[in-house]
């Protein structure tokens, strides 16, 4: 990296907001995925204008730029695949405005997801997207990845809760899109930019929609002696048109690991549990909970428990949210997959995952958003064992291919990033890539923003090369 760029960055935002020593950069080489990519310099802007100036400076030195929130992403979206400048939004973490009357909050991208809810819960409001990492992940990262969470089932992904955005384009231009209140005339640009994984623009301000807390919440724990019974319960619930606020499944192997760590009350001898939450008016929640219990029982649930109070409810959710951490106790590393299938195919998919695990010599755990068919198989492996790592990757790819073959998709909430970009041709044709590439180039013509993400690098037609530091623009082949 050109030391002149580092000097200019320090002048621009102050030396305390620039990291360029190898030992400092090491932390930013990783995120929650199995991928790696080390930036050459990390910068912490405080304002939108800072971001704009940094981007202009990077353009001057022909260095790629990648945005990063808390680095909790699971697809390598916030890794500097092409080196260059990493803009970390951790210090743009202010809630700029709360408009409770109109159910809006204006926040900087580095605000932690849960902090929005904490700021508005006194008024009976909350921010609906609730990734498992919501205590640490940032809203900017949620916007980039279009993050979900357990309650996506009823309330949708991040895109459904974003009203307007302020963007910095790769040339440093600052633009506002969307409309704080109601609809903006014209194309739904927010719909395009949310989930574009930082490949079109950097997001510097977000106007989110707040939701009203439901009057009544009922949390059920359905315990099964067979995984098939649990998955058939989900299929029947969906087919009968019952949409709970959340419907999560933990298989026996996973719940035992969780129970040993969290003591959430999951029975260690069961084959699977469903954690189901219903919300709404008291009258609706009661009848929906009763209907769900009936379906669970008709599918041979050993027991259906209802959380008696807020403490029990929190404990059950603590078990679910910290499950990935619990699994960390069992192996040096774990690979959390993210695939989607039609919900009607759930029993078949779980059987196939088991078979794929056996074939590759892994016990694959399942803890996932069953209600919307969003699978999260977990492969435990030792990254120091190269052969084992290769097998883990092979098993993962086979599972994702299985999801596609069942009519599903590559990713439900983690994004494509650099984890699945080479798998994109499983879903998209050359014509699809060609159009996506034209959209990409309309905003990021030199691939200076987050290069090497989403698009397959190995595919001729849609190829977008990973632009590395110092490379001239226009490196597309």
């Amino acid at each position: 990296m050109d030391s002149a760029l580092i000097r200019e960055l320090k002048t621009l935002v102050g030396p305390a907001n620039v990291l360029s020593q190898k030992e400092d950069l090491l932390l930013y080489e990783f995120d929650g995925s199995v991928e790696k990519g080390r930036p050459e310099v990390v910068v912490f802007p405080h304002t939108t204008e800072d971001v704009s100036r940094i981007v202009k400076l990077a353009a001057k030195y022909q260095v790629p730029v990648v945005g990063r929130g808390a680095g909790t992403g699971l697809s390598g979206g916030a890794l500097a695949r092409g080196g260059g400048v990493m803009i970390v939004f951790a210090r743009m973490n202010r809630i700029l405005e709360l408009d409770l009357e109109n159910l809006r909050a204006v926040v900087q991208p580095g605000v932690v997801n849960l902090d929005i809810t904490r700021a508005v819960e006194h008024a009976g409001l909350y921010f609906a997207p609730d990734p498992s990492s919501q205590k640490s992940c940032t809203v900017g990262g949620n916007v980039a990845e279009n993050s979900g969470g357990p309650h996506t089932l009823a309330y949708g992904l991040t895109t459904n809760h974003v009203a307007a955005l302020e963007l910095v384009l790769p040339d440093g231009e600052i633009v506002r899109i969307g409309s704080r209140h109601g609809d903006a005339s014209g194309y739904d640009l927010c719909g395009l930019f949310v989930g574009s994984e930082g490949t079109l623009a950097l997001v510097t301000e977000i106007t989110v929609k707040l939701s009203r807390k439901a009057e009544a919440v009922k949390t059920l724990l359905a315990i099964f002696d067979a995984v098939g019974d649990a998955s058939r319960t989900v299929v029947e619930m969906t087919a009968r048109g019952i949409t709970p606020a959340a419907c999560e499944m933990l298989d026996g192997w996973t719940l035992r690991a969780v129970e040993d760590y969290i003591h959430a009350g999951f029975p260690r001898d069961s084959a699977a549990v469903l954690l189901i939450e219903v919300e709404g008016l008291r009258e609706a929640a009661v009848s929906q909970a009763a209907a769900i219990a009936e379906i669970c029982n008709s599918n041979h649930a050993r027991e259906v428990r209802t959380a008696r109070d807020e403490r029990e409810r929190d404990l059950l959710w603590k078990g679910r949210r910290n499950a990935f951490g619990a699994l960390g106790r069992l192996a040096p590393s774990n690979y959390v997959l993210d695939g989607v299938i039609p919900r009607s195919k759930l029993p078949e998919a779980l059987e196939q995952i088991h078979a794929i695990g056996e074939k590759h010599g892994f016990q694959i755990g399942n803890i996932f958003h069953a209600g919307d068919g969003n699978l999260h198989p977990i492969v435990l492996y030792d990254p120091r064992d190269t052969e084992q790592f290769k097998r883990a990757i092979a098993a993962a790819e086979e599972i994702i291919r299985m999801c596609i073959s069942l009519g599903g998709s590559l990713t439900g909430e983690h994004g494509v990033g650099m984890e699945k970009n080479e798998l994109m041709p499983l879903l998209f044709s050359d014509a699809d890539f060609d159009l996506m590439r034209r959209i990409h180039d309309a905003f990021n013509p030199d691939s200076s923003l987050n290069p090497g993400k989403i698009f397959p690098l190995s595919k001729g037609c849609g190829e977008i090369r990973v632009r590395k530091s110092g490379e001239a623009a226009g490196t597309r082949s």
């Binding site: 949708g156 459904n160 109601g182 008016l281 009519g407 998709s409 909430e413 044709s429 699809d432 159009l435």
Partner: protein
């Protein structure tokens, strides 16, 4: 052979002579603001659409995609219009998985046929949009008109999960998929919603479907003043009760609504006949939920000193909801000359609403006003004549509305107006700061600018 005849012959080679029409009558049927195309084509597959678009791109011919043509007047008339693409030949349900609550349907499928297929499985699509009896699914999405159920179910961006379409180079593309949760690739299908066919020709749409509710009901409360009605409306939104739709109407709107219900042979709620302002609320759920909402609405109405209030039974509620769904259609026909605006303001205070009404009521105009909970108001300036003085009043009224909405940092769109007025007023209002980004999107989708050129925002 004339160039038009020659064109028709070449097109016939693409899709067969029985699906290319160039008779004067056929062309007249597809005219927009008096401008007729050179040919009307009815492809029967996405592949045929792609062939036609490739041809049009090579020949630089402007293409307007149509369904039932019920909303072709939306936006500005296209600057060029060579080929009308009649998509009613694409009308299959491609895939329906009731167990997964997802459906994939061709763009030319009539909405009501899709509704019947879904109802057979006790499901529905919450796309309660105008011209429902004739509209195609593709037209409903491309036109982007509001659904009366959006308060509860959201807009199509909340339940459209994927699409297949033909871009401006004639290539068949897709976005999204058939699963309810998916973040793979750019969400290009969201851009198609409300794009008026200026980005691509939609061939197929994938939706999340919803279970039909057990019961539906409605409540109507009357108030002597706009302020009282809006205060009541605001209190309902804060109540936490799950309403499907809440609207506030003025007396002219009520009179037109009653007239439409009468014409349809539907029951007219007594309170609609009263003067003043009405607040209309719909809701759904099981019997216990309905009983509670009805009771609380009666209590709230009494507390707000409503001059009258009425609980409306399920059958009448459905009829009234359908009538409101069709408001765009009957409002535009409600007088010899009508300018219908869709207005979004950061906040609809009583003062704002009164000011807009005042601006639209240039003598001798009347105005019908309806405000929905999602912050969108519909305001129709109704002129009973088409003489120069009345036309001048209509133009003054509409211009005044645009400038007042802009001053309040809102946005307005002229959904319907006489052609002469569209020639004088930009129906989309002032350009927004993000307009250059929209131009980039347009160029990426349609590099030859062949899709309904000039119809969309800012002349896109």
């Amino acid at each position: 052979m004339s160039s038009v005849a020659n064109l028709a012959t070449r097109l016939e080679k693409l899709i067969g002579n029985d699906r290319v029409r160039a008779s004067e009558a056929a062309l007249r049927d597809f005219a927009i603001a008096g401008r007729a195309p050179m040919a009307v084509l009815q492809p029967c597959s996405a592949e045929e659409v792609a062939e036609i678009v490739s041809f049009a791109a090579a020949e630089k011919l402007a293409v307007v995609a149509c369904g039932s043509r019920s909303k072709l007047e939306l936006g500005m008339p296209p600057q060029r219009f060579d080929l009308a693409l009649d998509l009613t030949g694409l009308r299959q349900i491609a895939h329906y998985d009731p167990g997964d609550l997802t459906v994939s349907v061709d763009a030319g499928m009539p909405l009501n046929e899709l509704a019947k297929a879904l109802a057979a499985k006790n499901q529905f699509l919450p796309l309660a949009v105008p011209c429902c009896a004739t509209s195609t699914v593709g037209g409903a999405i491309a036109s982007g008109l509001d659904s009366t159920l959006r308060q509860q179910y959201g807009t199509p961006r909340d339940f459209l999960i994927g699409s297949e379409f033909v871009d401006g180079t004639g290539k068949q593309c897709k976005s999204g998929g058939r699963v309810v949760k998916n973040v793979t690739g750019y969400d290009l299908h969201k851009l198609l919603i409300g794009s008026l066919g200026t980005l691509a020709v939609i061939a197929r749409l994938n939706f999340r479907t919803f279970p039909l509710p057990d019961l539906r009901g409605a409540h109507l409360a009357g108030f002597p003043t706009l302020e009282a009605a809006l205060n009541f409306h605001a209190s309902l939104l804060k109540s936490g009760l799950p309403f499907s739709n809440t609207e506030v109407f003025n007396s002219d709107f009520c009179a037109l609504l009653a007239g439409f219900l009468n014409k349809e042979g539907a029951g007219v709620p007594e309170s609609l006949a009263g003067c003043g302002w009405q607040v209309f609320v719909t809701f759904e759920g099981n019997a216990a939920v309905m009983e509670r909402i009805e009771r609380e609405l009666r209590e709230c109405s009494a507390h707000a000193q409503a001059t009258q209030c009425q609980t409306i039974n399920m059958q009448n509620s459905l009829q009234l909801s359908e009538a409101l769904r069709e408001a765009f259609d009957w409002l535009r026909r409600a007088a010899p000359s009508v300018a219908l605006l869709r207005i979004v303001l950061p906040r609809f205070t009583p003062g704002d609403a009164a000011e807009l009404l005042h601006a639209s009521q240039q003598s001798p105009l009347r105005s019908a006003f309806a405000l929905r909970a999602c912050g969108v108001a519909y305001l129709a300036a109704l002129a009973d004549g088409e003489d120069a003085q009345t036309n001048a009043a209509l133009e003054r009224g509409v211009s005044g509305l645009f400038s007042r909405v802009e001053a309040k940092q809102g946005s307005a769109t002229l959904l319907h107006a006489p052609v002469w007025l569209k020639d004088r007023i930009n129906v989309w209002g002032a350009k927004r700061g993000d307009f250059p980004l929209m131009q980039r999107v347009k160029r990426a989708f349609d590099p030859h600018n062949i899709f309904a050129p000039g119809r969309f925002v800012g002349g896109i």
